[in-house]
Point group: C2
Chain length 387, copies 2
C-alpha cells in the first residue's frame, strides 16, 4: 500500500453565508487548497457532504463543484456518512491514492445549511438518525443528544455546569481563528445563562448551523518531493485511518454512554501508525455537543467512564494542556457545516503540524488525532496525522 500525504489545505470562512451558494463556498476551499499545494490540476475530486439533497435540491454535487473549479475529465463523487461525511470522503481519497488509482486527489467537505428556501434544517439533520424508528417518532437530532446527556448526568451524578469547560475552551480558541463562525470568548456565566434548546442541552452545549467548505490535496508520500520544492510549506502524512460503525438507532445500543465505534476506530488507527495515545500532541474531537466531547474523551481512553468532563474542568484541554482539543475553535466556535467538519478537522490538524496555527499553535506539535462522528455515534472515523 502506498503511503499518502497532504500537500495542500484550503478553507472558506464558516458562518451563515447567505450571499454565497454551495458551489461558490466550495470554490474558495478547493482553489485555496490547490494554490497551497501548488497544483493546477487533479485526477479526482471527492466531496464529503450530507445535506445537499435534503436542503439545496442538488445531488451530483461533486461533479458540480469539479466543473465550477474548472476540473474536467476527472473522477468526481460525493461521499456521505451523516456528520462524518468529511472524514469518510478523506478515506476514499486516501484509498484512491494508496491503491494507485490516482496520484493527485482533492478531497473537499462542503455544507450549505442557510438560504434553504422551503426546507427544514432540523428535519434534514434528523436524517442522520433512523428515519423509521427514531425521527418518525418526532425526536430531533438535538433531542437524541439531549437524551444521552440527561442519562449521563443521571448515571454519574454530574451537574449541568460540568460541561461548561468544553464550550469555554472552544470559544477561547475560536477567537484566534479568522475562519471561525464565533470569534468571541465566553465564560461560565454565558454558559449558565444560555437559553435551553432541548433539556439539558443549551445554546452553549450545541454547535451552530453553518455553511462552509474545507479541502485538502493528497499525493503519494513517495512523490511529495516533486510537489514541495521551493517555497512550499512541506507535507503531513496520514499515519493511520480507520472507520467503524455502530447501531444507527441509539436505543439499539447496549450502552448509550459509550462510543464503541470511537474505541474501535481509534485503536485501529493508532495500531496502523504504530503509536500510543500518549504520543498524541492534540486531539481534534467531534464536539457537536458538549456531551459528545465528554463521551469522546472517555471512549478513546483519555478519561475514565463518567469523568471526561473533568478534563475540561481541570483545564487540561487547552492549547498548553496535556491534551489540547478543539484547537481552532472546534465545532462549537469554528462552526459545524456538517459534511465539511471532518475536513476542517484535518485542515486544522495540518495547520498545527506545519506550524501554521498562529496564536493557537501547539508548541512542537508532531502527531495529531482527528475524530469525526456521524449521527449519535453510529459512524466514527479516526485519522492519525504526522508532521
Amino acid at each position: 500500500m502506498r503511503s499518502v500525504s497532504i500537500i495542500g489545505i484550503g478553507q472558506s470562512p464558516v458562518g451563515e453565508l447567505w450571499d454565497r451558494s454551495a458551489r461558490e463556498i466550495a470554490y474558495t476551499a478547493v482553489t485555496n487548497a490547490m494554490e497551497d499545494a501548488g497544483i493546477e490540476d487533479a485526477d479526482a475530486l471527492f466531496v464529503g457532504n450530507m445535506l445537499s439533497g435534503s436542503l439545496i435540491d442538488q445531488e451530483h454535487l461533486a461533479t458540480l463543484v469539479a466543473g465550477y473549479c474548472g476540473l474536467y475529465g476527472i473522477e468526481a463523487a460525493k461521499v456521505e456518512a451523516a456528520c462524518a461525511s468529511g472524514a469518510a470522503a478523506l478515506r476514499v481519497g486516501a484509498m484512491a491514492v494508496a491503491s494507485g488509482f490516482h496520484d493527485v486527489v482533492i478531497v473537499a467537505g462542503l455544507e450549505k445549511m442557510t438560504d434553504t428556501v422551503g426546507k427544514d434544517t432540523t428535519a434534514g439533520l434528523a436524517t442522520a438518525a433512523d428515519a423509521d424508528y427514531e425521527a418518525l417518532h418526532g425526536v430531533t437530532f438535538v433531542g437524541l443528544n439531549a437524551l444521552i446527556m440527561q442519562r449521563y448526568m443521571h448515571e454519574f451524578d454530574v451537574p449541568i455546569d460540568a460541561f461548561a469547560g468544553f464550550s469555554i475552551n472552544a470559544h477561547r480558541n475560536g477567537v484566534n481563528n479568522p475562519n471561525a463562525m464565533f470569534q468571541e470568548a465566553i465564560d461560565l456565566k454565558s454558559y449558565v445563562n444560555a437559553p435551553v434548546i432541548a433539556t439539558p442541552i443549551n445554546m452553549m452545549d450545541s454547535s451552530p448551523v453553518s455553511d462552509g467548505s474545507a479541502a485538502v490535496v493528497l499525493v503519494p508520500t513517495d512523490r511529495v518531493k516533486e510537489f514541495t520544492t521551493g517555497h512550499h510549506w512541506g507535507s503531513v502524512q496520514i499515519l493511520g485511518s480507520a472507520s467503524a460503525n455502530d447501531t444507527l438507532a441509539v436505543h439499539d445500543r447496549r450502552d448509550p454512554l459509550s462510543l464503541l465505534a470511537a474505541q474501535i476506530s481509534s485503536e485501529k488507527a493508532l495500531r496502523q501508525a504504530g503509536l500510543q495515545r500518549e504520543d498524541l500532541d492534540f486531539f481534534e474531537l467531534h464536539d457537536a455537543f458538549t456531551i459528545m466531547s465528554a463521551l469522546s474523551l472517555e471512549s478513546n481512553g483519555f478519561a475514565r467512564r463518567g469523568e471526561g468532563w473533568r478534563m475540561a474542568q481541570e483545564e487540561r484541554i487547552g492549547i498548553h494542556g496535556d491534551l489540547p482539543i478543539s484547537t481552532m475553535g472546534g465545532l462549537k466556535s469554528r462552526g459545524h457545516p456538517v459534511g465539511a467538519t471532518g475536513i476542517y478537522q484535518i485542515v486544522e490538524a495540518v495547520q498545527q503540524l506545519s506550524g501554521r496555527a498562529g496564536a493557537n499553535q501547539i508548541p512542537h506539535a508532531r502527531i495529531g488525532m482527528t475524530q469525526n462522528i456521524g449521527g449519535s455515534g453510529a459512524t466514527i472515523i479516526t485519522h492519525i496525522l504526522g508532521a
Copy 2:
C-alpha cells in the same frame, strides 16, 4: 496495485415495492450476495444511492443498511454521483481492496422511489441537473433528455420510430429476467402508440421509476481461491475501471450530442484492460432514455455520429447480435432504481460472464463492458469485466 475480483452477486426484484422499505430491499441484495460469495462477514459496505435524502428522509444510509444486515464495527459509507452512484460506489469498493485498506468489501446499489410520502420524485431526479441553472428554470430530468433527443432528430433528420429498436430489444430480454420490472415484450406498435411524456420522449423511450437493490462482493484477485473452493461458481475480474466528468449543465457543453465523458472513461478502462472495443462480448449501457442508448453507442465508438439508432434497427444489439446490449432488460425493462442501476449492470454482467444468465445467456461471453451515466452525461463510469 492489487487486482480486484467479484466473488458474489445478489439482487432484489425491481419494481414498485410499496410494501418494502429501503433497508429491507437492500437486505435482500446484500445477504444474497454474501450467500453467493459464501461469506459471513465483511470489512466494509459501500452503498451507491442518489435519492435517500430527497425522497425517504434517510441519510447515513450505508450505516443503516450495514446494521440491518448485522454488520458492525466495519466501514460504511454512501457514494453519490446521481444515476451513476452505483458504479461510483463500485469504484470506491475496488479502491478499498486494491489499496489494501480492506480485503472483503460489499458494494450495494440501492434506491427507494415509491412510498415517498409528501415527496416529489420528479423534483428529486432533477437534483442530478444543475439546481441553479437548469432545474430552477423548471426543466425536469426527462425534459432535459427530451431537448437532447429533439436536437438529435433535427440534426440527423431521424424519425421518432428510429429509436423503437432499443425498447423492443430491452423488453424482449426482460421477459427472461425474473427480477425485471416489466417482463413483457413490446413491438413497434406499442412503441408508436405509447403516450408522450415530454416531446419527443414517450413512455417506451423512458425507463420507469423503480425500487431495487443489487450487491456484489469484492476480494483481492490473489485471494480468490480461498473463497471459491467447493461448490462456488468462480469469480469475475475487474479488468478496467474509469470515471470521467463533463459539465453538469447540458447548455455548457460544446456539443450536447456527444458524451465526452463516455469516450474518456471507456478509452481509459479499455487501455487498463489491454483490450479493444472489438474484444467486448457485450455492453451493458445506460438506456435511461432511448436517446442515451444512441449517444452511448456513438460516443463509445460503436457507431458513427447520428447513426447509433441504426444498430437497433438492424437488430445488431440482440443476445445473438454483434454487440448485445441491455441483456437482462436494461434500465427500460429491468427498471431503473437510480442509485442501484450501476450495480445491477455489474451483477448482470457477472451473470453473463459466469454462464448464469439463463435464457439470455450470450454464448461464450468472456469480456463485458458496463457504463453508468450520471445526469445527462456529466458523470460517466465504465467498467471492463472478464471471466
